[in-house]
Symmetry: C2
């Protein structure tokens, strides 16, 4: 399978992007000549990672009958100091919300996403050291 | 330097993402349980690549006094057949538009982006075979 995306320059550092599922603007920060009219390109990789593992986990938990009430996934990436600046350390924080959370199934779902299903995680593993944290917020 | 992004699950396969420079929705295709209400997470990596190298090239061409009238960058990524599905082959097509395009400077800018400045390209190189094409569209 092949994915194709297109971008068109819009002046200064602004680009329009036609990606899978929609169009959006990409722009740089004002400190580097941009106008802050769109998303920063590099951090899109971190949202790609969160979305990919998040979808895995939601569908795995559904199959396992271990649904949660809410899920937030926060990702941070530490860049190298020198050019080309890459994410050398990436941390993924999974926050699960609900009543009587089935922690064993949640942890199994995360492991399956990390080891087997999440292609973005697999790509990140080739250049970054990845760590994770799991947080549970249980209602009574 | 550290980048941080946050995502919040919105039901089904839909997530809200707060990334650098803005917020947007991530969703899966209807064929895999999504509702097509947002961007596909994996392809965001390809737009990240286009935006990163595109900004490099625009700012390098400005410094070199070799501005162009327009620039489109198209990226395609071929996925592996097996899980975890990663982009194994990535092709970047640069399309430059203008009068009397300074091709030597354009090619130097692309090379500088690829070899030195584009962090996203450097990350991609760790898991994909990257090829490029340069197309020139000159006005008379």
């Amino acid at each position: 399978m092949k994915h194709e995306i297109k971008t068109q320059w819009q002046g200064n550092m602004l680009f329009n992007a036609d990606s899978l599922g929609g169009s959006f603007k990409i722009d740089a920060d004002t400190s580097v000549g941009g106008q802050d009219l769109g998303l920063r390109p590099k951090a899109l990789m971190l949202t790609s990672l969160a979305g990919c593992t998040g979808m895995d986990i939601i569908s795995l938990l559904k199959k396992m009958r271990a649904e949660v009430e809410n899920l937030n996934i926060n990702v941070s990436g530490e860049l190298t100091d020198e050019h080309p600046k890459i994410y050398k350390k990436v941390h993924v924080e999974y926050c699960f919300y609900g009543k009587k959370l089935k922690k064993d199934k949640i942890e199994k779902a995360i492991k399956l996403s990390q080891d087997r299903y999440c292609g973005v995680m697999e790509m990140f593993r080739q250049f970054a050291e990845i760590t994770i944290t799991i947080k549970y917020f249980e209602n009574k």
